[in-house]
């Protein structure tokens, strides 16, 4: 395979280094079966995220994109390599040290149905991180009102249970929870994949709107090239635990260099019959060519 790609941390406007830097990170899970080899979810991945930037992480299932997000959140064990946040090494922190990062790094998960505790009201869900941080209850409740407004949810939402909301609305609640403590980085793990088409673009617009207002950075994990193109400044493409291509979103998602990214792009159907027909023809030609060269195996067989 291609060796891990070095991501140039270009210096911009005299900023002092990236907000998050992932350096040669490996995540290894011990095998559950006796005597079979351990599973390498990440094989030496490096990536930087600057303040105010969205880095899209795109790949197919099993590529390790979700694991990378979880490693940044401290939910997956980093076997070797370092993750630095704001210059500080966070990959070796224990649970207690990690708690101090909760107002810096936050998360929005894919499934808005299981990421919100069904037994708690929206108010409880949103005040929980604030009360944990020692905010007074009255202040926290005021903050929740502001947050609901920010994510365009009705004010009376706070006394209702998650099940009373639609998928898109629940994802807004999850976004509000991530915003509670004014984080500087949000890891978004497929946050729009479970949503209907019309909600998808609205929620993505909300993400962009928040970023433009607060300057938060996103590590945006998704399998969908069109989503990643819409929201990311830069894109990293993952395949089998490695980052095989990085670059500006426009470039990677329209004229990729790597064969795998090209295959990914050609496989995504366009909502236009004529253009899809030509894309399909291009894909079939491309895969016939690849079949001869065989740089990577066909995941389906």
């Amino acid at each position: 395979m291609i060796a891990s790609v070095e991501v140039p941390a270009e210096s911009h406007n005299g900023s002092d280094g990236p907000l998050l830097s992932i350096e040669n990170v490996t995540v290894q899970y011990p095998s559950k079966k006796w005597r079979s080899p351990d599973f390498l979810a990440l094989k030496g991945v490096s990536l930087d995220i600057r303040a105010g930037e969205t880095v899209g992480l795109v790949g197919e299932s099993g590529s390790g994109k979700t694991t990378l997000g979880r490693a940044v959140l401290g939910l997956a064990p980093v076997t070797t390599g370092l993750i630095r946040y704001d210059g500080q090494v966070i990959s070796a922190m224990n649970r207690n040290q990690r708690r101090s990062l909760s107002d810096e790094i936050q998360v929005v998960f894919q499934d808005p149905y299981t990421s919100l505790n069904p037994a708690l009201t929206v108010l409880d869900i949103l005040t929980e991180p604030l009360l944990t941080a020692g905010t007074r209850r009255a202040e926290a409740e005021q903050r929740v009102k502001d947050l609901l407004e920010q994510v365009h949810l009705p004010r009376d939402a706070s006394n209702r249970l998650p099940r009373e909301f639609s998928g898109g609305q629940r994802q807004r609640i999850a976004i509000a929870r991530a915003l509670c403590r004014d984080p500087r980085l949000i890891v978004c793990d497929e946050p729009v994949s479970a949503l209907d088409l019309s909600n998808q673009s609205r929620v993505l617009d909300l993400f962009i709107e928040i970023q433009e207002r607060t300057g938060v950075s996103y590590l945006f994990v998704t399998h969908d090239l069109s989503v990643v193109r819409y929201i990311s400044h830069r894109v990293a493409v993952m395949y089998k635990g490695e980052i095989i291509e990085t670059g500006d979103a426009a470039k990677v998602t329209t004229q990729p260099k790597e064969a795998y990214t090209q295959k990914l792009l050609l496989a995504a159907p366009v909502p236009d019959p004529a253009r899809q027909a030509s894309r399909r023809a291009a894909r079939q030609k491309f895969s016939a060519k690849l079949h001869v060269a065989g740089p990577f195996e066909n995941p389906a067989s």
């Binding site: 197919e60 909760s102 069109s226 399909r280």
Partner: protein, 604 residues
């Protein structure tokens, strides 16, 4: 009844939503007449036992030879037992011992089981392995035998015996609590709580304990009942203390006099059964009220009812009268489900036509009724669904009103189905070959050998490199993409005229999706099949469909050829959907300037 210790730890801090939900369960429980009766019986028994000294002036322990087996009388309302003790007094005082000792068993079981389960389930690792090991060991030994040994060697006291029983059954509490904890800690909301900086103790209290609570109460009721039974059993064997009145000891005495005074057996047996049955029924009601409405509908009916034909020009769907190449013609299809006090319509007057060799896309967002439409055509809706249609013509013949066996002759043979989620649609207990061969043998009336030969050929046709190996594999041994190929091979195995595919590529990676769409397209062309493809993805529609029907809230809002739909969408909803696709949106430009952020304290 006793309140298990676990209850008190949560209520003090429980969130308002949680208490609201719990009150809800209690309210629901109180609407269940069985539960009310059980609670009443248990309260009555408890009260009678506690108030025993006020209810009778007889001594439950002191024997009196003169009154041996005395009949019922003013002094002994239920007579006296084999050594002249008053039966009523023994029942009442026996209740004290039996109920209190059962409480001891429940308390011990929970005091041991709950912490062990919480600890083992949350932290896993070595401690959990040791706990699991210990619990398996304890559970493998018959409880009565342990109690026999303990009572013979250590103490005759019922309370000691029940404390030991509590230990013996504590693994069941441990297992229950652990299982709940493990399932909750895998939930994303627990991950989110960790990222929010909650301490383990707080996560346990707020997110995990509430989940464990309700099943624990059920378990407590069950353990209570078991301890009453076992207590009676050991006393019946003659191992109880002679100085304690208990229901079991009464049975023992009555058994000795079974031929002379059989009624003596009745009273303790009755009261024991009443107690254990009330507990069991109460636990059952609790479980029901937790799982919500549990009533299952009656038998499956695949029959489509008579419905009105759609009125002239009312729907945007198209229903063509029988022509040579019309394979399926549906007019005014309706599907509704029972809801609280009424019926909810999910498919509301759908009309559509599929011709031979045509791919019809049924597109819409979640809840639009597109999958319900597809399932209703196959007769695969859950039994509580009610389906009606004005007309439902398949290859010129009316499908409406067909019974199950008639439907079974069509399903799989002439109308085939490809599901959405490949892995969950294969039976995990049978090899792929055996489950594919079953319908082939039934519909084509061929031998096992012929079916296998046919299927091996088809597996190769759908792009599987090693058909023989896949044929004898179990579903868990193949990948998702391959499973979808297997399902497609199964669907076309009896050479159907119509293929209904419900989001056949949604669960797949995009590269696999492209290959599966290619496969469906080539098979469809080669066999001149009609296809109904249900999807939410306009890219898939553009790739494979000839005609498209757009669904919204149970109705078809627009039907058009694929070309027309994308170039000139007529309906506002269609236009909104098409404009939401991100494919043609402009890419975000690279980050230009760094926003100025307040610098936070750094601890490098």
């Amino acid at each position: 009844m006793t309140i298990p210790p676990i209850d008190g730890t949560v209520t003090a801090t429980a969130a308002s939503g949680e208490t609201a939900k719990r009150r809800h369960i209690v309210v629901r429980l109180l609407q269940d007449p069985v539960a009310i009766c059980c609670i009443f019986v248990l309260l009555l028994l408890t009260a009678a036992s506690v108030l025993a000294p006020f209810l009778t002036d007889q001594d439950p322990i002191k024997s009196s030879l003169a009154e041996t087996l005395a009949p019922m009388s003013q002094q002994h309302p239920l007579g006296a037992d084999g050594v002249g003790r008053d039966v009523v007094a023994r029942l009442l005082y026996g209740g004290q011992t039996s109920l209190a000792a059962a409480c001891v068993a429940v308390l011990v079981a929970f005091a041991v089981g709950v912490p062990a389960g919480l600890f083992g389930g949350y932290y896993r690792g070595r401690a959990d392995a040791i706990l699991a090991w210990a619990s398996n060991f304890i559970m493998a030994v018959p409880a009565i035998i342990i109690l026999l040994v303990v009572m013979a060697a250590v103490s005759q006291s019922t309370y000691v015996a029940m404390a030991v029983l509590g230990l013996i059954v504590s693994p069941s509490v441990y297992r229950l609590v652990r299982a709940s904890v493990v399932s909750v800690r895998e939930e994303l909301f627990v991950d989110a709580a960790k990222v929010s900086g909650l301490s383990d103790a707080r996560i346990m209290r707020r997110h995990i304990l509430p989940v464990v609570q309700a099943p624990s109460i059920i378990q407590a009721a069950q353990i209570f009942g078991v301890s009453i039974g076992i207590q009676a059993g050991i006393a019946f064997l003659g191992l109880g203390s002679p100085t304690e009145a208990s229901w079991g000891a009464m049975l023992n005495d009555a058994f000795a006099n079974i031929y002379s005074a059989p009624l003596l057996l009745l009273w303790p047996a009755l009261i024991i059964c009443m107690t254990t049955a009330s507990l069991a029924l109460l636990a059952n009601s609790l479980r029901d009220s937790l799982s919500g409405s549990r009533r299952r509908p009656t038998r499956h009916s695949d029959r489509v009812r008579d419905g009105a034909p759609s009125s002239e020009g009312s729907a945007a769907g198209d229903f063509a009268e029988v022509a040579d190449d019309v394979l399926l013609a549906v007019d005014n299809l309706k599907v509704d489900y029972p809801v609280d006090g009424g019926r909810r319509t999910v498919v509301d007057g759908v009309s559509l036509t599929v011709r031979r060799g045509q791919v019809l896309g049924l597109v819409g967002e979640s809840g639009s009724g597109k999958s319900q439409t597809a399932f209703s055509l196959l007769g695969l809706l859950p039994p509580e669904a009610r389906v009606s249609a004005g007309r439902l013509l398949f290859d010129g013949a009316e499908m409406k009103g067909l019974g199950r066996s008639a439907m079974n002759r069509l399903r799989g043979k002439r109308i085939a189905y490809v599901p959405q989620e490949p892995m969950s649609n294969l039976d995990p207990s049978f090899t792929i070959g055996s489950q594919l061969a079953e319908p082939v043998r039934q519909h084509m009336k061929v031998s096992a050998k012929e079916a296998k030969a046919l299927l091996l050929g088809l597996l190769e046709r759908v792009g599987i490199n090693d058909p023989a190996r896949v044929y004898s594999s179990y579903p868990h041994q193949i990948s998702g993409g391959m499973a979808q190929r297997v399902l497609i091979a199964g669907a076309i195995s009896c050479d159907p005229d119509l293929l209904i595919a419900d989001e056949p590529t949604t669960a797949l990676d995009v590269t696999v999706q492209a290959e599966i769409l290619d496969l469906i397209r080539s098979l469809q062309a080669e066999r001149n099949m009609g296809v109904i493809l249900v999807t939410h993805d306009f890219g898939v529609v553009a790739d494979i469909c000839d005609r498209v029907a757009v669904m919204h809230t149970g109705k078809i809002v627009e039907t058009a050829s694929v070309k027309e739909l994308f170039s000139a969408p007529q309906d506002a909803y269609t236009r909104m959907l098409l404009s939401s696709t991100l494919e043609d949106a402009t890419p975000r430009s690279p980050l230009k300037s760094m926003p100025k952020l307040p610098k936070r304290a750094q601890t490098a």
